[in-house]
Symmetry: C2
Subunit: 291 residues, 2 copies
């Protein structure tokens, strides 16, 4: 398959949807701050994973842009809040000034809040699905994004600063912080595509392992990679003296663990044959990427 | 009717629901920060308005606690974020230290995020309603809470600091900041109770006027009232030199406007007869309150 085309086609669809959906203006200038971060040209990994999962179970990923783009909005809000001075205090994101550096802290806070809120509005606009399935799916996204998932993981991350944590604790932290939205994307894709119970189980395991492999790769790149633009690691977790897969397992150990995790993730896709080819390619893309 | 009992019964129901629903613990200490603000004993105005609206159209408000309490969670998150140093920078709320004074800014930010997220999870758990009606209702709550409503109004509020704005601009600001969640509560109650189109229209107008009357009262109390505990106004908007109904209309003018608005709000309830008695009492309670 022509994976590059597959990915770029969907990236364009996502971008077009997001541009169109934010062209309806609210009552204040917060719209501009929301768009600044939302339309900053991210990789759109999560919505594309959702669509590729629908494809894997025999549906048509194209039909679920509302749900997919809602998850992207949740991801974007989390980046805006993560960059705030009281959190990571970052000045740059993807080579551009962070939201609060452009619009001020109060506006960035509210832009994040508004994006999280809009995410639910947009997800609940999803057509081509039975209403009860949509309710259950969006509820699951909420669970994955909140104190049981992403936000919970961010708090564990905060609390781990300056401490050495155990491999199990690191796993729980990242399962929340990064993994939960991957799981939400994959499971929603599975629901939309009408996956069987067996398929749902395999895909959930796949998403969990993909999130783990993604994070280990991130930790490895923080040591070995540099950004082209700024000459410093994109993520600057190490400045806070946090435990990483490299600090707990050594660089070589982390590389082996990544390789093993990717292999296990790909195994979960075996039952889907040809149709899971996009998910396989996404897996490789995310775990062999460069900073 | 024994309104005191009516209100207190529902307040207890809301508190019990919120306590029970937050007893399921997430993966981090953010749960404690969420509970600190959520279980701080607020008046629970919005959920009780929702339930009273269901009653007004002949349903049973008791049956819609999930939806009602989700809206209370949205209200609570907005208070936590509003109190942050980059916003109003308040140390006290309802006579207790604000969330960030107890848990720190990062935790308070994330507690707000998690409450907003949990709100949607909880609302989507609502039973006793057709799935399509629930989807439309929760989507409408999102619209009222985001850049078209509450968050939009908060941004207009930020931007009005140090400026004199027109009465129309003040109306738009508060229609978003305070009115939108009142409208969400009332309209959701109307949907849950199976209101007719005429009833929905009258109730929406009622909610809009109630929000306006509530805000004018608030502005009047900022001038005439003091808190028992701290000897200073609870809201400290005037410290930022913002336009208020008192600054734009004079104290006497604001009092007249409040009276006229309350009368118009109550008129909207005429068609509901006896059954709207709780809504009438709530209207009086909110517009004759003391600081």
């Amino acid at each position: 398959m022509d994976f590059k085309k597959y990915y770029e086609d969907r990236q364009k669809l996502v971008n077009t949807f997001l541009e169109k959906r934010t062209s309806r203006k609210g009552i204040s200038k917060v719209d501009e701050a929301m768009e600044y971060s939302l339309l900053a040209g991210g990789k759109r990994i999560r919505p594309i994973i959702l669509m590729a999962t629908v494809d894997a179970v025999g549906g048509n990923g194209y039909d679920y842009l509302s749900l997919a783009c809602g998850i992207e909005m949740i991801h974007t809000y989390s980046l805006i809040h993560d960059d705030l001075p009281c959190m990571d205090d970052d000045d740059y994101r993807r080579g551009r000034l962070t939201n609060h550096k452009v619009y001020g802290e109060a506006m960035a806070l509210l832009a994040g809040d508004a994006l999280l809120t809009l995410a639910f509005e947009v997800m609940l606009e999803q057509k081509n699905v039975a209403p009860t399935v949509l309710i259950d799916s969006v509820r699951e996204v909420a669970m994955c994004a909140g104190n049981f998932g992403m936000v919970g993981g961010q708090v564990l991350d905060l609390e781990s600063e300056g401490k050495t944590i155990t491999p199990d604790e690191l796993r729980t932290l990242h399962a929340g912080k990064t993994g939960a939205l991957f799981i939400a994307s994959v499971r929603c894709g599975a629901y939309m595509g009408g996956a069987s119970d067996d398929q749902l189980l395999a895909l959930t395991k796949y998403a969990d392992l993909l999130g783990l492999a993604f994070q280990i790769t991130d930790d490895i790149l923080d040591v070995t990679g540099t950004t082209e633009e700024l000459g410093k690691p994109v993520h600057s977790d190490e400045k806070n003296d946090k435990s990483t897969y490299v600090s707990l397992y050594t660089l070589e150990g982390a590389e082996k663990l990544a390789e093993k995790t990717v292999a296990e993730a790909l195994e979960c896709l075996d039952m889907f044959g040809e149709k899971a080819e996009p998910l396989r390619e996404i897996t490789k893309m995310l775990t062999t990427r460069k900073k």
